[in-house]
Symmetry: C2
Subunit: 341 residues, 2 copies
DNA sequence: TTGAAAGCGGTACCAT
DNA sequence: ATGGTACCGCTTTCAA
């Protein structure tokens, strides 16, 4: 492509009648430069349409000025909240936040992490604690602060801001039990591609077993992200196989909504005939009729705490990795009211 | 921070007993290198934990190897679909896709675009056609292919893959009219922050006026993204001010869902007592009860066509900017069934 | 406050 | 197939 070469600092310097070094200083703040010279330089830069090349400045200064973050999906209230927390937490820094999306695929995550690390981010935030072996190696050897989120990995690479997905599942199982349900199923989370959903399911089923209940009432929803209609189909499947099931936890709130709508279409009232619970404190769970019992994981705080860790790490000579288990809380709503049968 | 300096190509070269130049070639494909040497080099690189510095290689080769994309929100099915289309369309290239999110704020977009352009992307994709003056200047002068999406800007900067949001609004107004509704409102889209939502509203109201109807029945929902509960409140507000309103279009499907739930809570059946329509062909609109009439904008295709344009542009000596109006289609569902009163 | 020189870590180009 | 050299565009460092 024979596109015109963008102007360089030398071009600006020539136009302003100063040395490139002076331009470099004038364009940054906190550096010594007479306001007169600076004005002249800014004018020249503007006229030329000059844009600083951070490829070059990064190479020279050894500061890329950005934080990398991988997210599984960009259609998810939860990750959106985490991103907001992180983004707002980094507002008062000079760090840009660049995102890459993995589509819930750890192979894709590996590719993405590799290409991020080549660009030498100041820190890297990943969603989840399950990575390919190679990806784990990359991160561990990267030399930059690594923060794993939304999970509690067994072998943390660096810092962690998360919660136990298994515990979230357990929490919900016990809630349904306490409300009188005994024949309880789980919808979604089969595939190991979404490790966090899988962990929730595992924790949920283990709790059922510990409570002496049947832990085989499971319906799959295909690969994540779980669509509402996939969850609706899974509910049908569950009821076909276990017609006496009284309640189900779904891997996410949108899934729970999909399943609940299927209940309604089948003439089952919720929770009168069938109780539903979700995960994630999504907008849809508080607005649906009935509102859906869910688990709130403090997604925003995951982000803001992560920002804090990054800022500390970049300040410190020898940053300490820290592991934060933020826990999660049950939000009880009408969809899982006490059993009446 | 006194972090250890990562190994460089020279380190790998020394370890493998070859010149840096040979390492450079061995690490790329499609270059001449004996398989024996290459193996030796790869081994050395792996042992040292070497990761190519694309800051440096980009500076030298003048190829950053990434496409930048700005998105307003990462909690939105529509943008997620566009991203998937773009991402899959770029799979067979060596281009990474890096995302930045603007939170529906064109000032934030300006900052983001500036920092993206400093990193010299191979192309830049922006959502929307409304930018700050400065941002427009940056993009126009960037020298890289610019693709504006999800809109039909009056002064395109480069290529465009979008549709007319105003036309989408008009389409829906005419549909409601044809189904017998005469007292019709609009929920959301007040703020100019979300230009696309604003355009839909403007087109909708203009069509009402052209049809000889009252075009003042508007309820605001605050800044985007419009939450379900904000839309529910707006519905209440609309009915308080115009109790005889028969139908409303909402700025998005989640908003429509929120408004519809509010109808149900107030004992209004949909569409019997009040008709609802949305925008965006979101999952929630096809799964809710009743399903919601919406407008499908072919979000995935916006992404895949954009990928195509990028590939063409990077191949060509003199890339041609192209403007694609993909249009949008009405999807009629039960929530806006023919008026019965 | 300003400038000159050196180099950040790679690749293009030209030799061998 | 491999190596040497210049240089990408900027900042660091040192000197004036």
């Amino acid at each position: 492509m024979a596109r015109p070469k963008p102007p360089t600092m030398a071009d600006v310097a020539a136009a302003a009648g100063v040395s490139p070094m002076t331009v470099s200083r004038a364009l940054r703040k906190g550096t010594s430069a007479s306001s007169e010279t600076r004005a002249k330089i800014l004018k020249a830069a503007d006229e030329l349409g000059y844009v600083l090349d951070s490829t070059a400045s990064g190479l020279s200064s050894r500061h890329s000025g950005f934080v990398a973050m991988t997210i599984p999906s960009i259609n998810n209230t939860n990750f959106a909240d985490t991103l907001r927390g992180l983004s707002e937490g980094l507002k008062n820094t000079n760090l840009d936040l660049l995102l890459g999306y993995t589509n819930y695929d750890i192979m894709e995550e590996e590719r993405l992490v590799r290409s991020f690390l080549r660009r030498r981010p100041e820190a890297i935030v990943v969603t989840g604690g399950n990575h390919t072996e190679q990806c784990h190696k990359y991160l561990a050897a990267s030399g930059v602060p690594v923060i794993e989120t939304w999970d509690l990995p067994k072998n943390p690479i660096g810092s962690v801001v998360g919660f136990s997905n298994a515990q979230a599942g357990e929490l919900m199982a016990r809630h349904l039990f306490e409300n009188g349900y005994r024949k309880i199923g789980f919808i979604g989370g089969y595939t190991q591609r979404d490790t966090r959903g899988y962990d929730r399911r595992t924790g949920f089923l283990k709790a059922l077993k510990d409570l002496g209940l049947d832990d085989t009432r499971v319906a799959d929803t295909g690969p994540p992200p779980t669509s509402m209609s996939a969850a609706a189909n899974a509910l049908t499947d569950l009821l076909n196989r276990y017609p006496d099931t009284q309640a189900a936890m779904c891997v996410s709130d949108p899934a729970a909504f999909g399943a609940m709508m299927e209940c309604h279409r089948r003439g089952l009232s919720v929770p009168g005939d069938f109780a539903i619970a979700g995960f994630g404190a999504d907008d849809v769970s508080s607005n649906s009729i009935p509102p859906i019992t869910t688990i709130d994981v403090g997604a925003y705080m995951i982000g803001s705490n992560t920002a804090q860790i990054i800022k500390e790490a970049l300040k410190d000579e020898t940053p300490q990795a820290c592991v934060q288990n933020l826990g999660c809380t049950l939000t009880v709503r009408a969809s899982s009211g006490k059993i009446t049968r």
